[in-house]
């Protein structure tokens, strides 16, 4: 670098000035953020598109992978779109607070539930852990953030905001540059023009398909930590942290509570091989739990879920199967804890309506029955019209708007109470009188002694201050009785343009009285009502924009008018925006699903008129590995089970069966590997091949028997039945050539069509069908043919779907309605995947998705997806193992030696009709404590009063059931309670641990408890195993403050003993089986006297590449019994 001095001086000056100019220009170009950017914008968009959420899930990537939103929605009974998942990578409590404050609540959303999923450390720490997290946080903040400033940025000063903002802007610029190049290049490459937006759409397409979550395996990313640089996340150090003062837990809880939401902190499990990931000192855990409880938040620690490494896609994030299991456990905990209470129809976006409650003065005219019945009766007045039959006709069985209490205990509705001679407690309406039988009346009569006259009559009240729940899954309904009104007031939480406002209402009228007695006003404007049969509809858009707040929907029934049963009230910018009462679906009227639904939906009777047609035999089978045989059936490959086949959407659908000497081998749909081991007449249809084994494990080619291929006579396309004893779902039906199938609609579903049924839907998949093959559909009502048509297969064999409007509609209260499908084609097979008869909504769904064609009204896109959502919804219980297992071998026997410890016998005092036994040492196995850990309702505590064993009840609510009086108990928290009619002191109460081995809990979970001082012996018969096979046993030790024994459980098999290695969530031990063919396997689990109370969890046999679940036996868990 040489030259003249002046040039050198000039160059030097430029060498300083030019870079400064460049850097200055860069600085000003990046500037300060001007509002929400990046992730914050994405969150706003997500919230806006989904509409007001009922549930908000916050967290890091753990929440994104571990929470299965479909499962959560299904278990909580809310539409999927009502759940908003707002996550940020590596987010901590500071981000959750900021999102809640500035994205959710500030936007006017009022969710019922705010669920925060993560590690305990991320809940507790006020730090943001890494710089990029700080940028993301800054992005979510408003100008005034006292909590964040005090707790998160306390030691860093305001300059950090500026720097982090700048970094965030720089990141956005980087993304814009890179993605801009990408999009322009893509558009040029694929569309031949340089248009960024078109390229962006292409990139989005690729992202949604090629890089969709289920197409990725994140564990394949092999970026290794090198140790030179401690990753990107700081180690979380909770030492010296005053959790109550420093953490954001109280702030989040307060924020949620102030907006009428429950805050729920969910601690997620990590794989056993990474269990230390979220290890904190016990006192931190205890203090955190206390802080949450004190703040009004709910803490759910789900590390107790027995999730092995196979449930995780990497060292932190769950696989799809793990997420489903985790979410189900979480949802059930939320439901059990009543956190979704408030009525299934509540939208809870600050739109809780005010309600009018009146008490009927029904104390006059009570007569105590002295003969021909028992209990009390009084004139029923207007109630007389609400007989059982009337309620049944409304499809509202059990939803009587009356509450009768006697002695503080609510009585159950029994139509014939007082008149059937049983004198069981309850109440009913018969012959214009209200009959009430109290518990004491019933007892007196049953024992033959003189009736005990109770002082004072029962209390009878009308329920109008909330929804009336109905049995089963039916959504709650609301009543407006004659002479009363209901006001629903709203504060316009959505900020919609007033002219967009819509209100819709659907209700049923019961009892005498004219529909004109019903008056509905919105913004003081009269809403025109449409009456159709017994049904009342309203669809209202105010002609003038309402200005005043709050808005009020007023529903009134004049005295002498009918009872109005409100099924659905929806308000908002569209009918689906906010359902104040009922579910969105109920606006569409009733629907009866014939085929293609959950098991409980398909209470249909299907009959087949003919035997399955014979199929061409494929010739002699060939030898297959391990003494099995195989046929090649290329013609039927499209029927095969498996992911590549057409029928795979409904899992194990293959209708092919193997017949041995003319007798069908019925273990179909097994994996080929599985049937090669279990050679007891199993078959596996994969691709072209149909593998099978002989019923007695002999070689099919040499045992002298005749084998043939045929079609399944049951024709049911089942859920995969690899797990023994699970109940198949009747998803779809095969209709073979020449078949005629008749499906009868269940009468109770027919009764739900108050306006009649006018929509028939049928969907079917053609197999082996040439274009033009037909499926004939008939709808018959009362013996007459109402509708018929042919469904024609198109070239390509895609699914055929027909939606037909029946005109005229089938009248209500028909008794005999059947749908008949017949397949006249001698070669085509049809799989009937969906059939439904519905009562359509009279509303014009201009905004609803779906394709309309001539003669068909536009309705929502079909929602049938047999084998997909349904599988999740009706999946087996919590402990079901969705991992690929080769089979389940329940134990031959389970016995226990030794007595359960320390029975409690003594007396308790009854207060308010409830007896309570304090059991502080057993709180850790109380149902509430177990449910919080996702372990189900499996408290081993049993209660005996006198010589009667009380039945365990799931919840405190269940105890209110009159049938529970002196019959049930609940173990919740530190005490056991049971309702009793006795007074004063009950002195013959004994509390013990269940002697049953194993034990079935109130919700159907089957567990094997291993008590201190006992030995549990389990025996299995296993024919043979590979060398090196082993058994893993997991048990969960329930250690509380008062149950901290130091003894370690031991696993023994023969001479081999293993001490259970303690883990964070469960203890594990492994024994190798040694030589092949060990005969019966007997293992003993010995729990010393000074050990904790333990629950025997997973027991698995790993045999070479195969894996067998030995415990839990899923048979007892397939059905969840609701209380």
């Amino acid at each position: 670098m040489s030259g003249a001095p002046s040039a050198r001086f000039g160059a030097l000056a430029l060498a300083i000035v030019l870079p400064l100019a460049v850097l200055g220009a860069g600085w000003s170009a990046l500037g300060r953020p001007d509002g929400a950017t990046g992730k914050a914008l994405a969150m706003d968009r997500e919230l806006l598109e989904a509409g007001p959420p009922d549930v908000v899930v916050l967290g890091s990537s753990l929440a994104r992978t571990n929470v299965d939103l479909d499962v959560l929605a299904s278990e909580l009974g809310i539409p999927r779109r009502r759940i908003a998942l707002l996550t940020l990578p590596n987010a901590t409590a500071a981000h959750w607070y900021a999102i809640l404050e500035n994205r959710v609540f500030a936007s006017g959303y009022r969710p019922r539930l705010v669920i925060m999923v993560g590690a305990l450390t991320t809940m507790v720490t006020p730090e943001v852990l890494m710089d990029t997290n700080g940028e993301r946080l800054v992005n979510l903040l408003s100008d005034d953030e006292p909590v964040i400033a005090a707790k998160v940025f306390k030691s860093r000063g305001p300059y950090e905001f500026a720097l982090l903002s700048l970094r965030e802007r720089a990141g956005l610029l980087r993304d814009r540059l890179v993605e801009g190049w990408r999009d322009v290049a893509l558009a040029g490459l694929f569309l031949g023009r340089s248009e960024r937006q078109a390229g962006s759409r292409l990139a989005q397409r690729a992202n949604e398909t090629v890089f969709a979550d289920d197409a990725m395996e994140y564990g394949l990313h092999d970026a290794q930590p090198t140790g030179l640089y401690v990753g990107e996340v700081e180690q979380i150090d909770l030492t010296g942290l005053d959790i109550a003062r420093d953490s954001l837990i109280p702030d989040i809880a307060t924020l949620a509570t102030a907006h009428q939401a429950h805050a729920v902190f969910v601690r997620t499990p990590f794989p056993p091989s990474n269990a230390d990931n979220d290890r904190v000192p016990p006192e931190v855990e205890r203090i955190t739990s206390d802080v949450m409880a004190d703040s009004g938040a709910f803490y759910v620690d789900l590390r107790g879920l027995n999730l092995g490494d196979t449930y995780f896609r990497d060292m932190r994030h769950m696989s799809v199967e793990g997420a489903a299991l985790f979410t189900r456990a979480l949802a059930r905990t939320l439901v059990d804890a009543d956190l979704m209470a408030g009525g299934g129809g509540w939208s809870a976006h600050g739109v809780r309506p005010s309600a009018v409650t009146r008490t009927l003065r029904a104390t006059e005219g009570w007569v105590l029955q002295s003969d021909g019945g028992c209990g009390w009766s009084a004139p029923a007045g207007a109630l007389a019209s609400l007989t059982d039959g009337a309620l049944d006709a409304l499809g509202a069985t059990g939803a009587l708007p009356v509450r009768v209490e006697a002695g503080g205990v609510a009585l159950r509705w029994r139509a014939s109470a007082g008149r059937d001679g049983t004198c069981e407690p309850g109440f009913g309406v018969t012959d214009g009188r209200l009959w009430v039988v109290t518990a004491s009346g019933g007892v007196a009569s049953a024992t033959g002694r003189a009736p005990h006259v109770q002082v004072g009559a029962p209390t009878v009240s009308w329920i109008l201050d909330g929804p009336v729940t109905r049995p089963g899954d039916a959504p709650p309904v609301w009543w407006v009785y004659p002479g009363s009104s209901l006001d629903l007031r709203f504060d316009d939480p959505w900020g919609h343009a007033p002219e967009a406002f819509t209100a819709r209402l659907l209700g049923d009228l019961a009892g005498p009285g004219a529909a004109s007695s019903v008056r509905v006003t919105v913004f003081d404007q009269r809403v025109p009502l449409t009456q159709d049969g017994g049904r009342l509809w309203a669809d209202f858009k105010p002609p003038a924009a309402p200005v005043d707040r709050p808005w009020t929907v007023h529903i009134e029934v004049a005295a002498g008018g009918p009872f109005l049963l409100l099924r659905n009230v929806a308000i908002g910018a569209s009918p689906y925006n906010s359902h104040v009462i009922g579910l969105p679906e109920s606006l569409s009227g009733a629907s009866a699903r014939l085929v293609g639904g959950r098991q409980e939906d398909t209470q249909v009777v299907s009959t087949f008129s003919v035997a399955p047609p014979a199929i061409t035999q494929p010739g002699a089978p060939r030898q297959a590995p391990r003494g099995t045989a195989v046929w090649s059936l290329p013609a039927f490959s499209s029927f095969a089970d498996g992911p590549d086949q057409k029928a795979s959407h409904v899992d194990s659908c293959s209708p092919l069966r193997v017949f041995e000497d003319g007798v069908m081998l019925d273990h179909a749909h097994f994996t080929c590997l599985d049937m090669a081991t279990l050679k007891d007449g199993r078959s596996c249809h994969a691709g072209d091949a149909l593998f099978f084994s002989a019923s007695d494990a002999s070689n099919p080619l040499t045992n002298g028997r005749t084998y043939s291929v045929g079609l399944d006579p049951d024709r049911i396309c089942e859920r995969r039945t690899q797990v023994q004893n699970t109940t198949p779902l009747r998803d779809s039906l095969w209709i073979y050539p020449g078949d005629r199938v008749e499906v009868v609609l269940p009468p109770e579903q027919l009764r739900a069509f108050l306006r009649g049924a006018d929509l028939l839907e049928v969907a079917a998949d053609p197999f082996l069908a040439k274009a033009g093959a037909r499926l004939h559909v008939e709808l018959r009502a009362g013996g007459a043919l109402v509708h018929e048509e042919d469904i024609e297969a198109q070239a390509g064999g895609e699914r055929e779907f027909r939606r037909r409007v029946l005109s005229p509609a089938l009248p209500p209260r028909l008794e005999d309605v059947r749908v008949v499908l017949s397949n006249p084609d001698p070669h085509a097979y049809w799989l009937w995947v969906m059939g439904a008869l519905s009562e359509s909504s009279p509303f014009t769904e201009t905004s609803a998705p779906g394709v309309a064609s001539e003669g068909e009204r536009p309705v929502e896109a079909p929602t049938f997806a047999p084998g997909e959502a349904d599988r999740v919804a009706v999946g087996p219980s919590l402990f079901d193992d969705p991992r690929p297992v080769d089979g389940v071998r329940p134990p031959d026997s389970v016995t226990r030696a030794g007595d359960p410890p320390s029975n409690h016998t003594g007396s308790v005092t009854v207060r308010g009709g409830v007896a309570e036994v304090r059991l502080p040492s057993l709180w850790v196995v109380s149902n509430a404590a177990l449910a919080q850990r996702g372990l189900g309702w499996v408290s081993p505590v049993r209660v005996r009063v006198g010589d009667r064993d009380l039945r365990p009840a799931g919840s405190r609510r269940a105890l209110a059931d009159p049938a529970c009086l002196d019959a049930c108990f609940a173990h919740l928290g530190e005490s056991v309670t049971f309702p009793t009619a006795r007074q004063g002191v009950v002195d013959d109460v004994s509390v013990s641990l269940s002697p049953d081995v194993p034990m079935v809990a109130p919700h159907g979970e089957r567990v094997t408890w291993a008590y201190p001082g006992t030995t549990t012996t389990l025996t299995w018969t296993v024919p043979w195993t590979e060398p090196g096979a082993y058994i893993d046993v997991h048990l969960t030790e329930l250690r509380g403050d008062r149950m901290a024994g130091q003894g370690r459980p031991t696993l023994r098999m023969g001479d081999v003993e293993r001490i259970f290695q303690p883990g964070e969530a469960w203890s594990a031990a492994r024994v190798y089986l040694g030589a092949p063919a060990p005969g019966p396997i007997v293992i003993e689990v010995i729990v010393p006297q000074d050990s904790a109370l333990s629950m025997l969890r997973d027991v698995v046999l790993v045999d070479g590449d195969r894996r067998w679940t030995l415990l839990p036996d899923p048979a007892a868990q397939a059905v969840r019994v609701e209380n």
Partner: protein, 503 residues
């Protein structure tokens, strides 16, 4: 600590200030003041002069040695133990070899054995155990073998080779054993090149350690520019490409065209990443007055495998050439099978050096195969054809697409099953979305190659013209400011480590 951490900037500021600050001790008036101080203590003027003359260098070396230990032991100080075991064994082994020439063979053996044992234990033990267990498992035996649960010490392959080269050179009589442990330790632990090379020979680096270094502004600025350019390549090119490449390799079943595109992009990413490290190392060393060897010389312009390895990771290929290939070739009578054997063994070592996994072993053997191929086939091609431009282009296309592509795949995929899955699928079948995905990655790869190729062009055509102009300085500083701006915009906290750290 790594070069792309913010902490490194502070670290360098302190190091440079102290380092060049010590040189002031050699200048008047400090020099005369300390001279007077020496006389007070009764030192003769000449003795003090002699000692003082070397004082700045000694202080600089001590300071650099401490700084290197801080740099390397920043997160895991225990890594230093291994480093010094290796260095100390070789230090004493070299001195013993020089002092006892009659025992030098077994002394060398002790040195080699200790180095290779340490390397083998920390780098290859788990690989050995896993494969041994799998082999026994197939026989029905399931032994409970000891598995290491520690991080692989960073740079172990680099510094082990470096200390081994010192001992071997002393053994061969090409180098004198050093007596000053600090100087020697600084040679081993010199922080710019310690963790990812270049693998400097003692004969090149030790003399620089032992010689006085003077501050030269031009040289300092050139070093700064080189380091900045390395930072640009790492942050702007390699780390921007990384997520796109990773995404493809995280896809369960990527179509062949996607793998092809990802392989191409990974090639660009790897070059940018590794060359970035070398540039930063060389730039930082230059700012400290040291010159490190070039490690990359436009490797993707190579027409053949031998040429590629002359241009790619030059310090490694020359190391194995000198210490593995040449000795193997000279241990007996020359023959074609000895050449083949030597090549294959050498490249087996190269593969194994990269990592304890079958893909790396296969990578080595694969390259060995092409080395053999080119070694024997090239002489058969007429010279005229070899110098023909179209023929050279065809050779380049063949080498780049057919020979190099699978190398990238073997380098990136650690499971041979995955490699087989990629290759064993229809090559020309892809959905439109898959082609778009491949297009995205290709677009990014092309974007990544632009600055690299531009730099080659500037280096060849622009720099020679303007280097001597006085206006070169403003051009340079403006370019640096643009680089700084780009690094700031593209920098991510979650950026990847340098790829070669894992070796």
């Amino acid at each position: 600590m790594t070069f792309v951490q913010v902490e490194f900037l502070g670290f360098m500021l302190i190091v440079l200030t102290l380092y060049w600050g010590f040189q002031l001790l050699g200048h008047e008036p400090l020099r005369s003041r300390t001279f007077a101080l020496g006389k007070l203590f009764g030192q003769s003027g000449e003795a003090w002069e002699r000692r003082h003359d070397d004082l700045p260098r000694k202080l600089q070396n001590i300071m650099l040695w401490i700084a290197s230990n801080l740099f390397y032991g920043w997160v895991h100080p225990w890594f230093l133990i291994l480093l010094y075991i290796s260095a100390t064994v070789d230090y004493f082994a070299a001195r013993a070899i020089e002092g006892n020439p009659q025992h030098k063979r077994w002394l060398l053996g002790v040195s080699m054995a200790s180095n290779l044992t340490m390397l083998g234990f920390f780098k290859y033990w788990n690989f050995f155990v896993e494969n041994f267990s799998a082999a026994l498992g197939s026989l029905g035996v399931h032994p409970d073998l000891f598995v290491l649960h520690v991080l692989l010490p960073v740079g172990i392959s680099f510094y082990t080779f470096q200390t081994m080269s010192y001992t071997i050179d002393v053994y061969r009589g090409q180098l004198k054993a050093r007596t000053n442990y600090i100087d020697y330790a600084l040679y081993v632990s010199f922080f710019p090149q310690l963790v990812a090379g270049p693998i400097e020979r003692a004969s090149a680096l030790l003399p620089q350690v032992e010689r006085k270094r003077h501050f030269d502004l031009d040289r300092f600025l050139m070093g700064f520019g080189l380091a900045l350019w390395g930072g640009f390549k790492k942050v702007v090119i390699a780390d921007t490409l990384a997520p796109y490449v990773d995404e493809i390799f995280m896809t369960k079943h990527p179509a062949f065209i996607m793998v092809l595109a990802a392989g191409f992009a990974f090639g660009v990413q790897m070059l940018a990443d590794f060359a970035a490290y070398t540039d930063i190392a060389r730039g930082v060393a230059r700012m400290l007055g040291f010159e490190l060897m070039e490690n990359f010389n436009r490797p993707y312009s190579a027409l053949s495998t031998p040429e590629f390895w002359r241009k790619w990771h030059i310090s490694l290929s020359s190391w194995v050439g000198d210490y593995v290939y040449t000795p193997l070739l000279r241990t007996g009578k020359p023959s074609w099978w000895r050449t083949v054997g030597a090549i294959m063994i050498t490249f087996f070592c190269v593969g194994l050096w990269h990592g304890a996994a079958w893909n790396f072993i296969l990578l080595g053997l694969y390259n060995g195969f092409w080395m053999v191929f080119y070694t024997f086939v090239t002489p058969l091609v007429p010279r005229r054809l070899r110098e023909n431009l179209p023929a050279q282009f065809l050779a380049w296309v063949f080498h780049t697409l057919v020979v190099l592509q699978p190398t990238g795949l073997l380098f990136r995929e650690h499971s041979l099953t995955r490699v087989w899955q990629h290759l064993n699928q229809p090559w020309f079948s892809a959905s439109e979305e898959e082609r778009i995905a491949a297009g995205i990655v290709m677009a990014m790869a092309v974007l990544g190659t632009l600055p690299i190729n531009l730099s080659y062009w500037v280096e060849d055509h622009i720099l020679p013209r303007i280097r001597s102009s006085p206006w070169f300085l403003p051009v340079l500083t403006t370019f640096w400011s643009l680089e700084i701006l780009a690094i700031f915009v593209f920098y991510r906290d979650g950026a990847n480590d340098f790829i070669y750290f894992q070796f």
